[in-house]
């Protein structure tokens, strides 16, 4: 048993109301919600704010780890820079904000970009926190992903844990051999261990393929129960609320 299995168990999920929802409706509901967010224009900040509140409410119901969400929100930083650029260089009319002359449409567009990205991160975190990877893979079926692709995603998610454990071992080995040194040195050796990680994992892929062939079976992901009409109705509630906010406040 590889150490990756232990990691998996350590990250056992909490069971809240959202995790009881079948994966098909859940993933479809997420996509519907995000499509509504994507069509909410920058000129409707109240609607965007309402959609943000909906996402936060669902995330709370899904018992997300808000610290992990905050870590993911650092992905917003480059967008904030882009938003500043659009605000500084946008078209007239201009407004004065804190001594800076900013373009009003540019400012709006920039803020809307950051807002939509943040809503997306919170909404996906809610689904990810309340679903196991096989459930998400099964949810992809609702979006029409072919079987070979879903199978690929399932094996990838499993291999991701194995490779992470492998990389940690390689890094430890490098640190022991060289003494954990300066940052640049660590980067160079990190890149080199990635080279040997590729060799190791490709060799493992070959063994896996051989083993699957000998068993005569496919590495098929497990199926999960299909959603009832009630589950679909519940899963589409956030999207419906967002649509109401978009029409009512936009």
């Amino acid at each position: 048993m590889s150490s990756a299995h232990r990691q998996e168990r350590a990250a056992a999920r909490l069971h809240g109301p959202v995790s009881r929802l079948p994966p098909g409706p859940k993933v479809a509901g997420l996509v519907a919600f995000l499509v509504v967010v994507a069509v909410t224009p920058a000129t409707a900040p109240a609607a965007l704010a309402a959609e943000g509140l909906i996402a936060a409410a669902v995330a709370t119901l899904a018992l997300v780890d808000w610290r992990a969400v905050a870590g993911r929100l650092t992905l917003d930083l480059p967008l904030a820079v882009l938003a500043l650029a659009t605000a500084l260089a946008g078209r007239p009319p201009h407004v004065e904000v804190a001594g800076l002359t900013l373009s009003q449409p540019g400012l709006r567009a920039g803020l809307a970009i950051v807002a939509r990205a943040t809503i997306g991160i919170v909404a996906v975190s809610a689904v990810a926190a309340s679903s196991s990877v096989p459930e998400i893979v099964d949810g992809l079926r609702r979006l029409g992903a072919p079987a070979w692709f879903r199978q690929l995603v399932a094996v990838t998610a499993r291999q991701l844990q194995v490779l992470r454990a492998d990389l940690a071992k390689l890094r430890l080995a490098v640190a022991v051999r060289t003494g954990s040194g300066r940052r640049t040195l660590a980067l160079a050796s990190g890149a080199r261990s990635l080279g040997s990680l590729f060799v190791r994992s490709t060799e493992r892929a070959e063994r896996l393929r051989l083993a699957a062939e000998l068993r005569g079976g496919e590495l098929a992901p497990a199926a999960t129960p299909a959603g009832s009409a009630a589950a679909w109705a519940v899963a589409l509630v956030p999207a419906a609320l967002a649509l109401v906010a978009r029409v009512g406040l936009g």
Binding site: L82, I113, V153, V155, T156, A157
Partner: protein
Amino acid sequence: MHIPDGWVDLPTSAAAGVVAVGATAVAGRRAAAALRERATTLPAVVAAYILVAQLLVVPVGLGTSAHLIGAGLAALLVGPSVAIVCVAVVVVVQALVLADGGVTALGLNLVNDGIVPALVTFGIFLALRPAVLRAGTPHLRRRRAALGAGGAAAAGSLAAAGAATLAFVVGGTDAVPAHVVAASIGGAHLLLAAVEGALTGVILAAVLRLRPDMVRVLRTELVGSQPDTSTEPAEVP
């Protein structure tokens, strides 16, 4: 950078989605033919490898960091069709499991982070291959291969920046002049391209030293390559 939800309007996302699904279907068929079986293990392992490689972040100042995108590297290692399939899996896992990159922008991310850099990197390296394989010691060839791969991957990253700019100009907000968008995205990508090139070169050199036969773009051409066991298994009766 992965494009988040709501960065461009829905028609542009949908158009990119159609391009992405079509390209992935074609690449999937070509990859299956190249691997002579319904291969799931190699693309899955390479996709997981790309995800892990992206964990190695290079601080670039201002609290932000750059990391490998990996499409170009994967194209050199396993060929562009397998690479595109891998990146498709990577963006799906990132969007749905890791909340990195938008769900409605999946198609756009696949075009930007997968199809464009994979094809550009592979194409440029193919053009450079005669120069890389010119006479010389294996060590010298490895050096040249790493340099060529780095340059090709950097060019692939810049091409991806071009594609992202195009998408934003076509489907993004019209509140900002196009040249400002091009300048800010392009400027940031100069740095990212340098990181992508350096990491690709170092990783490719390491793989060439350990198992030169695993680098598809140079297979059988390098002195000392062993018979291949990685992707083309013996026919199973």
